[in-house]
Amino acid sequence: MSSEPLAAPAAAPILQVERIGKRFGGLVALSEVGFSIARGEIYGLIGPNGAGKTTLFNVLTGIYPQDEGTIRFEGAALARPTPDRIAKLGIARTFQNIRLFANLSALENVMIGRHVRTRVGVVGAILRNPGTRAEEAAIERRAWELLRYVGIAERANELARHLSYGDQRRLEIARALATDPKLLALDEPAAGMNATEKQDLRKLLEAIRGDGVTLLLIEHDVRLVMGLCDRVLVLDYGRNIAEGAPKEIRRDPRVIEAYLGKPREGEAP
């Protein structure tokens, strides 16, 4: 199973991405991208705008099929991935341009996240038998728990679109957690957040990892990425140009050239 060219992580990898390629017409969005994430890791994905980070996310979560390469989740290759199958397998995601169910309450948003882990069908819903009621109560209980976990329980009955930007991001995380993911993929979770919110977000993400969820995140905030991630992959023009611990990445001349530009005073190693 393990012919991984990259430094083999200590634990068994939860996700292995092997030589992924994706084209849109003549545009090569991803080319031979490969990496692997260990269970329990916080793995960062950085790169300049247009480097292919979100495309990679969309391939990973089944929104686009890849043109080349394989993705293995917990050792098994994903055959014919669709977003709903991926979610069922245990990969949940958030979106760069927040995609909540805007006209539903925060609570309902999280309850919808429980869909994939619950069973009641039409007949159960119509009969509303004890089994249905018990499941419904469990969904609601879990949704409240998650809202409290991300810290927006007091906004539970407000429409998602009335929440502040930071709270919307938290709600997206709560909704994703409701699917009981093993791997949580976050597309720029700190975008638009102020310094305090970022600090809270960092604590939240560390708590999520503490609960045994592996994290993959795209983030532009270098400070957050460097402080939070165990390892970082740098993409540029759809290729991986460097991978390693944040400290190493910062020194890598290719990364400095492609992404960080000239090292600034005080931030340079």
Partner: protein, 358 residues
């Protein structure tokens, strides 16, 4: 004040009991005004059933369906073919209504399957075409094998019999006469209650939430693990089944059906009821159906007398002015209450986080 009534369980039950008694006595009150009004009420209930079915597709799942009347037609013809001299088959209603619902459900899936990737305008056009296809088939399926009897339609359709009571004729209880129309009123009312309960329960369930998620953001719904293909097919199938049942009742009440009853304007009418009442709100949809069934009839009876009173004679044909006023009402509605009379406000569940857990 309404809120106070809602909170006090005693007042609430008193209110429910009052409404129930009013609904039970309503047909006799209407009959004393004129039998036609009982009949109009029956059609208002029938259209409520239809609108509630369409509401699942349009209101819950957010899929615009302009051919909904096709399912009504399928249900109506199923009933007509299985309970009339046309094939000389006379099955009882309790067998036909489920069969009609099942066949309509099948047609719902047939329509749903090829349109899964379409939304909005594109879906509307395809469903509109579907509705027309069904009507044209009904019109022409008299050759080579006479299935539908073409434009002549099917007549002498059996009325409903419940426990030996014939719904086609009046029943005399001592000196008390209960007309067939009144009996159908109770039957339809019972059916409407069932459909409302089913709708309320579906809406507030895992299934209903999945539909709402699709309506709000299909991609996000898929990313949350909702199988949008199956859930959309389910919405089409459920909506169509309700349409099929309503169609069966239409056949039984009318005793005669022809393709003319299932034209595009009927689809538009049902859609107007859903939109006017408030898409996604079950009570709003019922209100929309009742209003759009009654107001045109009220106008029919008032437009001519009012003209005669104003001008001494009827200048404009009541039928013309009826459509004019109807159109005007719709425009005004959409300008001032675009979300409908009873908008589907966020169902503010009075859920408060359990205190001990906070």
């Amino acid at each position: 004040m309404l809120e106070a009534i809602r909170r006090d369980p005693k007042l609430k039950w008193a209110g429910v009991a009052l409404i129930a008694i009013a609904l039970l006595l309503l047909p006799f009150a209407l009959a004393s005004v004129g039998t036609a009004w009982v009949r109009i009420t029956n059609f208002a209930i029938l259209f409520s059933l239809l609108a509630l079915g369409l509401n699942i597709v349009v209101g819950f799942a957010g899929l615009l369906d302009l051919g909904y009347i096709a399912f009504y037609a399928v249900g109506a013809y199923t009933y007509a073919l299985l309970a009339s001299p046309h094939f000389n088959i006379h099955l009882p209603w309790w067998a036909i209504l489920p069969i009609g619902a099942a066949i309509a459900c099948l047609f719902g899936i047939l329509l749903g399957a090829p349109t899964l990737k379409l939304r909005g305008d594109y879906l509307a056009i395809v469903t509109l075409g579907f509705g027309e296809i069904i009507r044209i088939f009904l019109n022409n399926l008299s050759e080579p094998f006479n299935l539908t009897n073409g434009p002549k339609g099917i007549w002498s359709i059996d009325p409903i019999h419940v426990a030996g009571i014939d719904f086609g004729n009046a029943t005399h209880i001592a000196s008390f006469v209960v007309s067939g129309t009144i009996k159908y009123y109770y039957f339809l009312l019972a059916l409407l209650m069932i459909v409302i309960v089913v709708n309320l329960r579906l809406q507030d369930s895992r299934i209903g939430r999945a539909w709402e998620a699709i309506r709000e953001d299909e991609l996000a719904a898929r990313s949350m693990g909702i199988n949008t293909r199956n859930m959309k097919l389910l919405a089409f199938a459920m909506g169509a089944s309700f349409g099929g049942v309503a169609g069966g009742m239409f056949s039984a009440i009318q005793a005669f059906i022809s393709p003319e009853s299932f034209v595009l304007t009927e689809s538009v009418m049902v859609l107007s009821m859903v939109v006017l009442g408030g898409m996604g709100n079950i009570w709003g949809v019922v209100l929309g159906a009742v209003l759009l069934s009654f107001v045109p009839e009220l106008l029919r009876y008032t437009v001519a007398p009012v003209q005669r009173w104003l001008f001494g004679r009827a200048i404009i044909d009541p039928e013309v002015i009826r459509m004019l006023l109807f159109g005007l009402a719709m425009v005004v509605m959409m300008l001032f209450r675009p979300a409908g009379l009873l908008p589907s406000a966020l169902r503010k569940r009075e859920l408060v986080a359990p205190q001990d857990e906070l």
